[in-house]
């Protein structure tokens, strides 16, 4: 342990010297963070949530909110999906980009991981969801505590957005 400390001090010292030497190249940032995590191992997350909340699959949880039961038609309603995209682009796209993690998770393949009820409740009732739904709580932490905004969608609009997700 003592040895480890000495190495750390030495590395920091080295880092400081090298920083001092090259002013202009400093723009790449600094690596103190990595050093820090090496020495501060004890903060490991509990083993139960080894899988990220965004990747966890839970097809039983219906979430908390106005939607308690929803059966999806095997056929995608294309007209509804088009409406859903319009709503999504105006109300959701600022935080949820297609195919990449942004402020919040990407909606691609969401129905492989979540029930349709959960998705709609997350859209319609985010304030309560992030407080009370275990999955939504974990998602809030995974995404830096950035809150899911209540965009005031009607149930019909949220349903259309869900249909749009099925086309992704």
């Amino acid at each position: 342990m003592k040895k480890l400390n000495e190495i750390t001090v030495f590395l920091f010292a080295l880092l400081m010297i090298s920083c001092g030497g090259k002013e202009e190249k400093k723009k790449e940032g600094f690596s103190v963070t990595r050093q820090k995590t090496d020495t501060e191992q004890p903060v490991t997350p509990p083993e139960t949530s080894a899988t990220k909340a965004s990747e966890r699959v839970d097809l039983d949880n219906k979430g908390i909110g106005p939607v308690t039961s929803l059966t999806l038609n095997p056929e995608i309603d294309q007209a509804m999906a088009v409406t859903g995209k319009e709503v999504y682009d105006q109300m959701c796209l600022a935080c949820h980009r297609i195919g990449k993690k942004f402020i919040g998770p990407a909606p691609n393949g969401i129905l492989e991981r979540r029930t349709p009820e959960w998705v709609m409740n997350m859209i319609l009732n985010p304030d309560q969801m992030v407080k009370e739904d275990p999955l939504a709580k974990d998602l809030l932490l995974e995404f830096n505590g950035s809150p899911m905004a209540n965009q005031g969608l009607t149930e019909e609009q949220a349903r259309a957005v869900l249909e749009y997700f099925r086309t992704l």
Partner: protein, 651 residues
């Protein structure tokens, strides 16, 4: 043994008596000392029973309070620039403060009046006057925002304003100072007989409240001080108090107090309306601003109007009479039945009450006492209903409850006096702290008052609160008037200088109060409807940045290609659709103010970068746990650089 048990019984009985006495006295003491507190206490999470709108006087704005708690909820910017929201600084709201004198970012706001239907408060709008550069404003009571401001031409010191008729047909604006009409270069001492006082009738469109100056009555050159509408049977008439019927142009303190009586002018506006409808009146060249804020475009526009219809009252028989009223009357108030017109001679001990019925009879019987500039003066005794022998000094304003009582403020003797309408008997009086001006009972100047509280608004504060240097906010007091005697229950500081106020039951407004602007109804010319629309466009040295906000980032947040000397317009659209989630926008060196953008709204801030560098901007309203992260950079290059415009987020 018997004796002992008797003794025990006696002692026991005594004990009960004593302890019950004790309990009782404790209880009543408790109730006595806490009753006022209980009356004004609105527990955390609970809401007030009434809204109160207090004028801000020289703050130029209107403040919103709750009764009985005296808590201030909001300051609504009307005539003054307001950096808190960006009103008067944002590109959208600058036109609201346009006048024929140019941009006037301040005024003196005196007399709020809530719109009425059939003489009862309907809670659609509240009207206020700008005293200094004569203007009337209409404030929406669903958005609590200023929606319209109209300048009043030929007026100066717009004081006997902004009172409405009982179906909100008109908002009325009378001039305090008489002036040459039209304005011209002439010697001041030729005032007498040459100056005019304009009484303006501004119609209010029933559907959207739009204002239009229909006509102005050009009156003799007196000072028109305050006014109120007839109601019920006197609907169709309007009453204005006057002073300086001496027509003095200097040292009015002395020269305007010579006449034993001045007048209350009774205007039959329905007669004049009809006269104008039939082509009467004179179209006179004018130049005054009409500024309208559109809730869908979130944008104000200013139009200059070039003409006004003026009416010579002597040309309309039966339209105007003078009611002699002692001692330079100030307040001019009409009781809920419409029968009594109360004139408060501000240098008098008594309150003069005129009768509407007697006035009509006197007109019918032509009981005149001469005329002034062709306007008949009715005989004082023929119109007088009674005199309230108050015992106070300096009556100013009167409001009414729903039990037939009137409440008059006395400035000099610093008190509120309660008296019975009809018998003129004084039933109670309570001191104010200090030197009260107006008072307000919710609905107290309508057909249907809500006589539970009266708010007295004072001119002098002195020792009421902890001292804050030479300048103190004005004090106000709340009295419970539900019983026979008034009870002082609360004392609270106000903002600016409240003159008149208006109040109404909370349920009249609370359920209609708007929570957000719907993004899909946003018709702003520079709105960013989706993040894909976020962009930067250059047109010469004008740069338009279409930017959106949501918790907690700006889209875009990195912008390059701006140059020194550019005029950069930040058009910020808030994409939130949740109640009470505004975002602010500010940038280093911003020469205007920040802007606070409500959910679904678009606002624009003009920035003129003067220095080369990379300059930050940020959200001014703490919006989420990541609010401190809500920031961005603008790269400003030299004027002659050829760096292309570019913008990004998260790249």
């Amino acid at each position: 043994m018997k004796n002992l048990s008797y003794l025990i019984c006696v002692l026991f009985g005594l004990g009960i008596t004593l302890s019950s006495c004790n309990n009782q006295s404790q209880k009543s003491n408790g109730a006595l000392s806490s009753s006022a507190a209980e009356k004004v206490y609105v527990a955390p999470g609970e809401q007030d029973e009434f809204y109160a709108f207090l004028s801000g006087g020289y703050s130029g704005n209107l403040t919103v309070y709750g009764l009985p708690s005296g808590r201030m909820f909001k300051e609504i910017p009307v005539f003054s620039q307001f950096p808190t929201s960006g009103y008067g600084y944002s590109e959208e709201t600058k036109p609201m403060l346009n006048t024929s004198f140019g941009f006037v970012p301040w005024d003196d706001l005196h007399h709020p009046d809530i719109s009425q239907t059939n003489g009862e408060l309907d809670g659609r709008w509240i009207f206020v006057n700008g005293n200094n550069t004569p203007r009337i404003a209409r404030v929406s009571l669903s958005t609590f925002e200023t929606e319209e401001i109209i300048e009043v031409p030929n007026s100066a010191g717009n004081h006997s304003s902004s009172f409405i008729t009982e179906n909100t047909e008109y908002v009325v604006a009378g001039t305090r100072f008489s002036v040459p009409v039209p304005q011209r270069d002439m010697p001041i001492n030729e005032y007498k007989g040459n100056f005019k006082g304009a009484l303006s009738f501004i119609s209010v469109a029933p559907d959207n409240g739009r204002l239009n100056l229909e006509f102005q009555i050009l009156m003799p050159g007196f000072n028109y001080d305050l006014s109120h509408p007839g109601r019920g049977k006197s609907h169709g008439w309007f009453f204005f108090s006057t002073y300086n019927t001496e027509e003095a142009n200097s040292l009015l303190e002395v020269m305007a107090s010579q006449n034993d009586k001045d007048f209350i002018a009774a205007v039959n506006w329905k007669k004049i309306e009809e006269y104008v409808k039939n082509g009467g009146g004179t179209k006179m060249p004018a130049n005054y601003a009409h500024n309208v804020y559109d809730e869908e475009t979130h944008t104000g526009t200013s139009t200059m109007i070039k003409e006004v219809v003026t009416v010579d009252p002597t040309k309309v028989p039966g339209a105007l009479y003078f009611l002699p009223t002692p001692k330079s009357p100030h307040g001019c108030d009409v009781d809920p039945t419409g029968e009594y017109i109360i004139g408060s001679g501000k240098l008098s001990a008594d309150i003069t009450v005129h009768s509407f019925d007697k006035m009509l009879a006197a007109i019918e019987a032509e009981k005149f006492d001469g005329e002034a500039y062709g306007i008949p003066i009715l005989k004082f005794e023929e119109v007088l209903a009674g005199t309230v022998k108050s015992g106070g000094l300096g009556p100013l304003h009167t409001e009414f409850d729903d039990k037939g009582n009137a409440y008059t403020t006395f400035f000099i003797s610093s008190e509120v006096v309660k008296w019975k309408v009809g018998t003129w008997e004084v039933v109670d009086r309570k001191p104010t702290y200090y030197s009260v001006g107006h008072l307000m009972i919710p609905g107290g100047n309508s057909r249907k008052p809500f006589g539970k509280y009266v708010v007295a608004m004072n001119k002098i504060t002195k020792d009421r609160y902890l001292p804050t240097g030479p300048e103190m906010e004005h004090s106000a007091q709340i009295y419970d008037i539900s019983g026979e005697k008034m009870e002082l229950i609360y004392d609270f500081p106000t903002h600016g200088e409240p003159h008149y106020a208006a109040g109404c039951p909370a349920e009249l407004l609370a359920s209609n109060s708007k929570k957000i602007y719907r993004l899909d109804e946003n018709k702003h010319k520079y709105a960013t409807m989706g993040v894909d629309d976020a962009r930067v466009e250059r047109n010469g040295n004008e740069v338009h940045i279409y930017m959106s906000t949501i918790r907690s980032h700006f889209t875009p947040d990195n912008i390059e290609g701006i140059k020194v000397g550019d005029k950069v317009y930040f058009h910020i659209t808030n994409h939130e659709q949740d109640f009470d989630v505004p975002h602010g926008f500010s940038i280093i060196g911003q020469g205007t103010s920040e802007i606070l953008v409500m959910p679904g709204q678009t606002k624009t801030s003009l920035w003129e970068p003067k220095k080369v560098g990379v300059w930050p901007f940020y959200c001014t309203d703490f919006c989420s746990a990541l609010h401190q992260e809500m920031q961005g950079y603008v790269r400003v290059s030299p004027a002659n650089s050829n760096i292309d415009l570019s913008w990004s987020l998260g790249e």
